[in-house]
């Protein structure tokens, strides 16, 4: 009896341990399979034509630069919208709002985070893009800016929740100290609380931007999907196409093992690496901050 109990305990402990390690396994598997399917690209397309201005797969033009710039310009636009809105809302929720207001706002922002991206894209097609076409007098409402607006909405909940956590974690004594010195609530927020929460706020911004770069369905539905090189801000108001949308739109139609197929996986691994870099930087900012806090406390 004793023995079987400890044997069961042993097995269960091992199973739990294996589950814990599985996260590493999955990241490795994802990387391996992206690599496996994308490596042939390098043999089939030379690098100069891969990093080129023309994406026209039917005639074997696989220049991914228009897709890269498309992703970047939309993400930049989304960041310009989402960072002020997200940080403002986080500060409002954490520092200013009365309790009952907080109880309403937090679930609502969380709800926005849970809205499926197709629903946002659907509303983009039906409401946002016709509105922009008429309001800004554009030939089409399906532009990079439309994508930025909606992507901003997707990045906001991430920014709000991470930034709010960071602001919340600032010890109350910091604020009380500032008030005791005669600072107003407002001065305390800008001069004490925000600087103290800086690393968490930076993490919030990075994670928000990370979400925006990776978003697929919304941008595919509302940005018009024209693979043109977007180098100036003027491109914000014309159709563009992102890396994510290209994969989603074209993967269904290519033959497995063709050059086009490999190039789409190549774009996938570029996206994977971008998200890897963004997340590692974001999390190391957090780690550093933690270490500093521990130093101060010890």
């Amino acid at each position: 009896m004793e023995k079987s109990l400890s044997f069961r305990e042993f097995i269960i402990t091992r199973l739990i341990q294996a589950s814990g390690y599985s996260a590493i396994l999955f990241v490795a598997l994802i990387f391996f399979f992206l690599l496996k399917e994308s490596l042939p690209t390098l043999g089939e397309v030379d690098l100069t034509s891969l990093f080129n201005f023309r994406w026209y797969p039917i005639e074997n033009y696989f220049g991914i630069l228009p897709l890269l710039t498309g992703s970047l310009i939309i993400t930049l636009g989304a960041a310009l919208i989402a960072v002020p809105l997200g940080l403002g809302t986080a500060i409002y929720i954490s520092e200013i709002a009365p309790r009952w207001m907080r109880e309403i706002l937090k679930p609502l922002v969380e709800l926005l985070g849970g809205l499926p991206s197709v629903v946002l894209g659907f509303l983009g097609i039906l409401l946002v893009s016709p509105f922009l076409r008429i309001f800004l007098d554009l030939p089409t409402g399906l532009t990079a800016f439309t994508g930025s607006l909606l992507l901003g909405g997707i990045a906001v909940p991430t920014i709000v929740s991470v930034a709010e956590d960071a602001l919340d974690a600032v010890p109350r004594a910091y604020r009380e100290g500032a008030w005791a010195l005669g600072a107003t609530h407002w001065q305390t927020i800008w001069r004490v609380t925000l600087p103290a929460a800086k690393s968490g706020v930076l993490t919030a911004i990075m994670l928000g931007i990370g979400r925006a770069i990776g978003e697929t369905m919304t941008v595919m539905m509302v940005t018009g999907n024209a693979p043109v090189l977007a180098l100036s801000l003027g491109n914000l108001f014309s159709p563009v196409r992102t890396m994510t949308a290209t994969i989603a739109a074209e993967m269904g139609e290519v033959a497995n093992g063709s050059t086009h197929y490999h190039v789409l996986f190549f774009i996938g691994i570029v996206l994977f690496l971008i998200s890897l870099i963004v997340n590692i930087i974001a999390s190391s900012v957090v780690f550093r901050a933690k270490k500093r806090a521990e130093r101060i406390l010890s």
């Binding site: 996260a23 992206l34 409002y92 709800l111 499926p116 996938g268």
Partner: protein
């Protein structure tokens, strides 16, 4: 002079607070607006036939039953794989793992899983489950892909909830002669259950609304019958909404709004359940 400055500071504060309040309102209004708008517009499309019928006339008439059933299957399939694995991983991190390099690596891996774009999960699912393991475009392949995507949400919320159980609970249980696993199973998991459940529902909510990961792993444009086995492809509500709002010309707007409404209600219900569980558990907590 000092008095003027003081008044100034307070004017600045009042202006600043007003501005931030406006920002919060601007952020939240579209959310409320979106939900109300779709409820309002889609409401009239919801008939018994719409919910229980098959699409007809190139999906321009009839119902969306196969998509609804498909999304249910995918959500259940995702839960089957991700819930046990996610909770076990959370138990490992909260109760077993010591703070060493390996544990930090696990944490970095989880953060990265959470950040990988959904369409990249789709590519991975295509490469591993559909082609390499030869599951084909199927409910199984799509559910597995969605589960890996859902894992980080479940792991991190479950871990947080396990960690919030006071250390004294563990000490007492062990001192009474319980083994570590008995303590976890009978004491810790029971106390942490509401938090874990909240995380599971929020994770599954995301999976249910996703389109990109199932595009090439299990989603079907149109199927005349319901899937029979996990190896069949399936229709799904989010993908169906994408198809009828972009790929089908002359699609009646009513059906589009109705489909969006069904998806929204599905996701909202899960969201509300999660929120209610969490706030009730918080109110009941005695420690």
């Amino acid at each position: 002079m000092l008095k003027l400055l003081a008044r100034n500071r307070h004017t600045v504060q009042r202006l600043g607070f007003t501005l931030l309040t406006l920002v919060a309102v601007v952020t939240v209004m579209p959310i409320v607006g979106t939900v109300i708008f779709i409820l309002f517009k889609g409401g009239s499309a919801i008939t018994p036939e719409f919910l229980t019928g098959f699409p007809r006339e190139g999906m321009r008439e009839g119902g969306i039953l196969p998509a609804i059933i498909g999304t249910l299957y995918l959500t259940i399939g995702t839960a089957i794989f991700s819930v046990p694995l996610g909770i076990a991983a959370a138990i490992y991190l909260a109760e077993y793992a010591s703070d060493n390099r390996l544990t930090r690596l696990i944490r970095i891996a989880i953060i990265n899983l959470a950040g990988i774009p959904s369409v990249v999960y789709g590519l991975f699912g295509l490469g591993l489950f559909v082609l390499f393991l030869q599951f084909g475009t199927s409910i199984l392949a799509a559910s597995l892909t969605l589960s890996i995507m859902t894992l980080p949400v479940i792991i991190s919320t479950a871990e947080e909830s396990l960690r919030s159980v006071p250390q004294s609970f563990r000490t007492v249980s062990i001192s009474l002669g319980a083994t570590k696993w008995q303590t976890i199973r009978k004491i810790i998991l029971k106390e942490a259950l509401p938090g874990i459940l909240t995380g599971v529902i929020l994770g599954l909510e995301r999976a249910a609304g996703e389109t990109a990961p199932i595009l090439f792993t299990g989603a079907a444009f149109f199927l005349p019958q319901l899937p029979n086995s996990p190896f069949d492809a399936t229709m799904a509500v989010p993908y169906h909404l994408f198809v009828i709002s972009t790929q089908v010309p002359e699609m009646p707007i009513q059906i589009q709004y109705g489909t969006a409404l069904v998806l929204l209600v599905f996701v909202l219900t899960m969201n509300v359940i999660a929120t209610v569980i969490r706030s009730r558990a918080r109110a009941k907590r005695q420690w």
